[in-house]
């Protein structure tokens, strides 16, 4: 197990190097930040001065090695746009994204698994068919459409929920949370539902498939025959066995929700990391974009490794060699 973890960590480092290299190559074609930084009326000479002051006149490989060296020392450079440390800017936005992603994954887990079980129990009932049709919609509807529809219905026509932002937040010093105020929670509802829709549909379908398979097993029939209560049979005997792949999937999705909540955050003007990333892309703010992508890679790689380990704990028969 230990060798396995070490090997995975080493692989992770290689992936990070590859990601950073790709980022650097792509940025050669992503536009020139110097132009805006020198100002609209700067002359060619002044533009060159800015380029040199940022070290952007150096060849790409020199810039790349310098970036790696600094990153290894925990320094990801300063944003070209706000001239503040890039890592700080991103981490400042982390709580908003984390709270949004956590709520979304909770909604998907509760409703995805719950509805999945309901559907599996009576697959041909009309409500099951309706739920399955709805899940198909959840998978195929793009996030931006879900978000805009929810805003139109609940914020514009009915007018009971706010359309954007985080509402009142409480600053705990290291973490600015919206979960402690009623206003903050009201603001969380629509974006969390939007972000969870796709994941919810996936988890629902996964649970349903697993449940239908397990419910047909001999040991479930035995359990029913023993006269156990339906709750015990369904939850304790059937669902538990179905949950392993579901939890794995949810874990992997959680990483993605944190890293790529960009569309939802933009529509709801949610002040999270994805929102920052999009603004930075518009402004060609390379240090922020690179740092973001590196951070996202670290999160996803870590969650992958954790899920692998967790999987081995849940199912001792699994061996990694």
């Amino acid at each position: 197990m230990l060798t396995y973890i070490i090997r995975r960590l080493l692989q992770g480092v290689i992936v990070l190097l590859a990601v950073s290299l790709i980022c650097f190559v792509i940025f050669r074609y992503m536009g020139d930040p110097v132009l805006t930084l020198a100002g609209r009326y700067a002359t060619q000479e002044q533009i060159q001065e800015v380029r040199e002051s940022l070290g952007l006149d150096q060849p790409t490989y020199v810039q790349y090695v310098r970036f790696l060296w600094n990153a290894a020392h925990g320094n990801f450079g300063k944003s070209y746009v706000s001239r503040l440390p890039a890592l700080g800017l991103i981490l400042e936005r982390f709580p908003a994204t984390f709270e949004l992603a956590t709520c979304a994954i909770l909604i998907s887990l509760v409703f995805g698994v719950g509805l999945g079980v309901v559907v599996a129990l009576r697959p041909y009932a009309w409500h099951s068919r309706a739920i399955m049709a709805g899940s198909l919609g959840g998978i195929s509807m793009p996030t931006f459409l879900t978000g805009i529809l929810l805003i139109m219905i609940f914020a514009v026509y009915v007018g009971i929920l706010p359309p954007f932002g985080r509402g009142k937040t409480v600053d705990l010093g290291f973490w600015r949370t919206g979960l402690l105020t009623a206003d903050g929670i009201r603001h969380l509802i629509l974006p969390a539902i939007t972000l969870s829709t796709y994941q919810l549909a996936v988890l629902l379908r996964l649970t349903r498939a697993g449940m239908r398979e397990v419910l047909a097993e001999e040991y479930i029939k035995t359990a029913w025959a023993k006269g156990l209560s339906p709750v015990t049979v369904i939850v304790k005997h059937a669902l538990r066995n179905v949950l392993i792949p579901v939890v794995t999937m949810a874990g992997l999705q959680f990483g993605e929700l944190i890293a790529f909540a960009i569309v939802t955050e933009t529509i709801f003007q949610w002040p999270g990391m994805g929102n920052l990333l999009l603004t930075s892309i518009y402004e060609t703010d390379q240090p922020v974009i690179v740092t973001y992508i590196m951070l996202a890679s670290v999160i996803i790689i870590s969650i992958n490794i954790l899920v692998d380990i967790f999987y081995a704990v849940l199912n001792p028969k699994i061996r990694y060699d």
Binding site: G39, R83, V156, R176, A182, R186, Q269, L276
Partner: protein, 508 residues
Amino acid sequence: MKKFAWVAAIALMLVALLAVGPAAAKSLVVAVDSPPRMMNPHGDDSDAGLSYMANFFDGLLQRKGAGGKLVPALAVKWEHPDALSWKFYLRKGVTFHNGNPFTAADVKFSFERLGNPEVSEFLNTGKQISAVEVLDDHTVVIKTSEPIPWFANNMHQIFIMDKESTEARDSGEVQNRPIGTGAYKLEEWVKGSYVRLVANEDYWEGAPAIKNVEIRPITEASTRFAALVSGQAEIVTGVPVELYEPVVNNAKLEVVSRPARRSIFLALGNKAEDPWSDIRVRKAMYMAINEEEIIEKVMRGHATPAAQIPDPPTIGYNADLKRLSYDPDMAKKLLTEAGYPNGFEVTLTGPNDRYVQDEKICEAVAKYLAKVGIKVNLDVKPKSIFFPEVADGVLDFYLIGWFDGTYDMGRTYFKIAHSRDAEKGFGGLNGAAYSNAELDKLLESTAKILDTEKRKETLQRLNKMAMDEQIVWIPLHYQEDLYAIQKNKGISFDPRPDRWMVYKEISK
């Protein structure tokens, strides 16, 4: 019973969640289209950035309200003793937000800071200043290295910082917390969420009417609209033309529009081997474009036709210039005369995230030109890729927009019309490398003209040469700025020509 208690509790919680009241009176909530990049007044020269800074800081001069007239601010008057000197008499008794008195040392510090690429996007202005002489605590003379006729016209954009606190604080603090003399102090800035301003009760012009302002940057247009309709914002900037109808039809809302200063036009190169170096071809391309229809269909009526680049209040605007009429038959005839009866191919480049309907305008232009036999290859791309190409001067034919913050076309023409000359710093955004020796000469002669009347006359002549005789550009239209406000809140808001949101000018 227990079950009922639970249901009741949840229902009560929901009701409580929905019943959070609106904000208190004498405060204003505004949803704007772009977030602030930083709180350093010299670090961002875009109007979106200056719009924030104008509330925290003052310039030596300011432009007031909807008219945009240049009037004193931190300087009570100014003189122009010789071609290279600008003398400012400073206002007495003004203090910064931290209590420090405003003196000539702060002016010297601020102007010297402009030349530092680490903190300034006003490098061009900064590098043209050769010395800032402090005569006494309230008189300064700013010397430029060459004559800059429009120097004072730009003084509303150069904000004065407090020397002591800017030097004492680390750079991160300076980027995050503005300390100026402005009508508002920064209360809180939560990046991505809001910027809260609180009135500066000791403001030298008198405390502003609105005591608290909350600015909420919302980049997504439909969300900004939702914020307005749901009553979460009282003024919204940047209403997209697609959403104009729903706003007008909503009884609670009112649209405030004003002609924008920015003109949209097509720039065209004139390399000898290209068909479009022939004036007849240029004229044909101009006449083939149905601008009336672009305004009606693409801009949905929210634009006015332009016959030149500058807008009426700008020095250099020539009222005699008229658009060439839309006449595709004449265009075809001119093309045949020039030896291109079957047309030719040309690439039209343009941004797709910069101006109102920019991509759609390019598409429309391509269709009009196709009708007279010119095959247009569209190359529309994000501004972060488009503008570097303009700066490199590698394009043939492109769409761009412009207005000059100094209200004097001199600076702009040097940037976009003069032949590219890296050494002298001319033609930096002349993206199709247009070059005309006669025009260059006339333009260079204006640099030394300081007399306003004479400048006006020469720049008007230059404008006529560019638009009438040479067709350097094909002008399209002036944009219109659209704002929406809540109707019954008694908000009095008259938009500024530069799109800045200056809250001391708004009352409620």
